[in-house]
């Protein structure tokens, strides 16, 4: 009886949205910072003014006020930079890894996390080639990858593609404004 009661009781927290790992972070790092053998986390602690500036630019700023760039190096030379961007949706959060090359252009984008509910929608967008449309974008370029696949996916996958667009917009703005 006790396990049954316990199971029923703790069910109170049903609302928590289960996160599903689509790509391991280590795999995303390896793909987006190819050849790197040393890594550094550069943390930018935003002043109130800069947090406000970022918010004005992309209608978002990190809740803890800290932006993190992961920098990959090989033999001391920078091979690229990576950001993990999280976007919350009514169906749970997604996490998107955005990798930049030395030239400041996007090298690649990986959706690393989704939820049990959104996983299939996200996978449909990936199968439609969503992330290939981000390659080469630089700060100031509008992503608009979702629009490219609109005709090939359903309404909910398209919605998720827009969320990935949003993550890339944030990553581009953060890179432009705060990566030194």
């Amino acid at each position: 009886m006790k396990p049954i009661v316990l199971s029923a009781v703790v069910a109170a927290l049903l609302h928590i949205t289960p996160v599903v790992v689509l790509v391991k972070r280590t795999d995303a790092v390896t793909r987006l910072l190819p050849g790197a053998d040393a890594f550094a986390a550069r943390e930018v602690h935003l002043s109130e003014a800069d947090a406000h500036r970022l918010h004005e630019t992309v209608d978002w700023s990190p809740e803890d006020g800290v932006l993190t760039f992961y920098i990959g190096r090989r033999g001391g030379a920078v091979v690229g930079t990576l950001e993990f961007q999280r976007v919350d949706t009514p169906h749970g959060p997604i996490e998107v890894a955005v990798g930049f090359g030395q030239d400041g252009a996007i090298r690649g984008v990986e959706v690393t996390k989704a939820t049990a509910e959104t996983r299939h929608w996200v996978q449909e967008t990936l199968a439609a080639g969503l992330t290939s449309h981000y390659q080469g974008l630089k700060a100031g370029d509008p992503p608009g990858a979702a629009a490219h696949i609109r005709a090939r996916v359903g309404a909910l996958p398209f919605y998720m593609a827009e969320q990935v667009d949003k993550a890339v917009v944030r990553a581009l703005a953060v890179y432009r404004l705060f990566y030194r």
Binding site: S7, A8, V10, I16, P18, T26, F39, E43, S47, T89
Partner: protein
């Protein structure tokens, strides 16, 4: 009262049984999910819901940059599942109405139980108070202090207790030995 589960048609009893069984399975999986993503202790719940700013210093006057070395394997380390304010707004918006519907369905079962009016009122109050406590705990943990995580746990226990009492009494009264004056 006309609606009495002890005397109800077998189809009504079966409907209520199926409803309770479905909720029971959902609650069991909910428990599993809680174990995976939030845990059952005040500390783990606080870690999930408390806002990092509460332990962070004020924003610096000027933006500051620090850098530290990380290893590839550091990327693989599990970060605790956290729910920030935006996600909690969405969770509250999406899930509180559903909790209300579940509480209402269980309350409808309570109305068919042979219990005193006071007991019925107490059970219905418990069923609706539990989700309120649950979400109030989350918001207080986020906005006031991590110690309020215990309110969420109390809400969770209250929800499970309400379900267990309602399901136990209902199943007993519907399918147990007939009470005096009730013909099976």
């Amino acid at each position: 009262m006309l609606y009495d589960l002890q005397r109800a048609d077998v189809r009504v009893k079966w409907l209520v049984t199926c409803l309770l069984a479905t909720f029971g399975v959902a609650y069991a999986f909910g428990a599993w999910m809680v174990a995976l993503y939030a845990g059952f202790t005040p500390h783990s719940v606080a870690r999930t819901y408390a806002t990092p700013e509460m332990t962070m210093p004020m924003p610096p006057e000027r933006t500051m940059v620090t850098e530290r070395d990380v290893r590839l394997k550091d990327f693989a380390e599990e970060t605790p599942h956290t729910v920030d304010r935006e996600l909690l707004v969405q969770d509250t918006h999406v899930h509180l109405p559903m909790y209300g519907v579940i509480a209402a369905a269980l309350s409808a079962v309570v109305l068919g139980l042979t219990v005193s009016q006071r007991t019925g009122l107490a059970l219905i109050t418990l069923l609706f108070a539990a989700p309120w406590l649950d979400f109030a705990g989350m918001w207080l943990t986020k906005l006031v202090a991590p110690g309020f995580a215990v309110v969420t746990l109390v809400g969770g226990w209250a929800m499970g207790l309400g379900y267990t009492i309602v399901a136990g009494v209902a199943l007993w009264q519907m399918w147990g030995p007939p009470a005096k004056g009730v013909h099976a």
